[in-house]
Symmetry: C2
Subunit: 210 residues, 2 copies
C-alpha cells in the first residue's frame, strides 16, 4: 500500500505527522515523502526540516495521498508541478486526503468541485473559489476524498481512514498504540468553544501574518 | 527562550512533533533539534527522517528540554552522550519534559528518583528501575519536571506547559490555532477504555517486536 505525503515550503509539521503516525502503523504501509526535490523541506517556522525521499514525479501512482496544509499553502496553489501531481495521482488513488489548508491544494487540482469539504476554520471560505461547499465538520468524506479541519484534526482523519482500510479493530489498536485519549487542559479547540476574545486574538494574529 | 528537542535513532515522530507544534507558537520560542550529529535522524520505522540542527554539546543550557520516546529508547538508555546531556541540561533548565518512553531517558539521567512519573502504558513499570513511581495519568508534573504518557499525549503536555510559561490565554490561542478539538472515531485510547481483545492485540504486537 503506497502512501504519498507531498511536502512544500512552509507546510505545517503536525498536519503531515498526525495522520502519518496513524497510517504508518497499517499492515503493509509504505510511506514516501515527496517534494520538488529529495532532501530537507522547511516547515512553516523554518525551525524544523523533514526529509523528502523523492521528487513528486518519482511516485505518480500512490494508493493514498495525504496533503498537508500550512502558511505556505497559498503560494503552493500556483505550483503547477505540485498541483498537477495531485491532479494526476488522484485519478488512480484509492483515497485522496488532506489536512488543514491542504484541502485548498485539492481544490486547485480540481477534485473538490461540487463537493463538501473542510479546512482550517480560518480558511473555510477559501474553499468556495474551487467550487467546494465549506463545512465546519472535523472530518468530511465524499466518496474517496477525505478532508480534515485544522492541523491536529489529521490524527482523527487518520483513524477514520485506518478503519476504512483495515477495519475498526486495527484502527482501535492503532489508537491504543499511540495512546490517543485526548485530555486538553482547556476546551478552546474550535471557534465555537473558545472564548470570543481568544477567537479575536487568533484572527488578529492570522491577519497580521498575511 | 531556548527549547531543545534531542533526537536519537528510532524515536517516535509524534512524540516530538506534538509538543513542538504547540511550543513553537510561544512568543520568543527558539527551537533547536539536537542529535549525536547534525543531519537527518531516522524515526521508529525508518520511513521518515527529521533534520537535526546541531549536536547535543552545541546547546548545553536550554531553557526547556522535550525528550521524545520511541522503540529506540531502550538502546538509547546506554548512550551516555545523550543521557549525560540530559543530566547536565536539567541542572539549569526551567522545564524538563518528556513524552512516552522519553521518561525512561529522564530516569536514566537520574532526575526522576523518588518522583511520580508517567510513560507509555506498556512501559510504565520500567520507570521503577530508576526510582520513579509510575502513575497512569496522562500528564504528571513534579516541580519543573513534566512527563507525559504515550505518543499523542505530548500535545496535551505541550498545552499544559504553554499555559505555565505564557498563561492560559496564550495556551488557548495556540489550542485554537492548531484546532485541537479532538474527535477520535473510537474511544479506545487507553487500556482502561479499549476493548480487552484490542489491549491484548497491542500487548502481543509489542511483545513480538521486542
Amino acid at each position: 500500500m503506497k502512501i504519498a505525503i507531498p511536502l512544500y515550503d512552509r507546510f505545517t509539521t503536525l498536519d503531515a505527522v498526525g495522520p502519518y503516525e496513524v497510517v504508518q502503523r497499517l499492515p503493509g504501509a509504505e510511506i514516501t515523502w515527496l517534494a520538488a526535490e529529495p532532501g530537507p523541506v522547511g516547515t512553516d517556522t523554518g525551525q524544523l526540516h523533514l526529509h523528502a525521499d523523492a521528487a513528486f514525479e518519482d511516485l505518480p501512482d500512490p494508493d493514498i495521498l495525504i496533503v498537508p496544509g500550512g502558511i505556505g499553502t497559498y503560494d503552493a496553489l500556483d505550483d503547477e508541478r505540485l498541483v498537477g501531481w495531485i491532479r494526476r495521482a488522484h485519478e488512480t488513488s484509492q483515497w485522496t486526503t488532506s489536512v488543514c489548508t491542504g484541502s485548498l491544494l485539492l481544490g486547485a487540482a480540481g477534485v473538490l468541485d461540487g463537493l463538501d469539504a473542510t479546512s482550517h476554520w480560518l480558511d473555510l471560505e477559501a474553499l468556495e473559489r474551487f467550487g467546494a461547499r465549506p463545512t465546519g465538520r472535523r472530518v468530511v468524506q465524499q466518496g474517496k476524498i477525505i478532508t480534515a479541519a485544522g492541523v491536529s484534526s489529521g490524527i482523527d482523519m487518520g483513524l477514520v481512514l485506518a478503519a476504512k482500510i483495515a477495519g475498526p479493530e486495527i484502527a482501535q489498536a492503532i489508537q491504543l498504540g499511540i495512546e490517543y485519549d485526548p485530555e486538553p487542559p482547556f476546551d478552546a479547540g474550535s471557534p465555537e468553544k473558545a472564548p470570543p476574545e481568544i477567537v479575536e486574538l487568533v484572527r488578529g494574529l492570522a491577519a497580521a501574518r498575511t
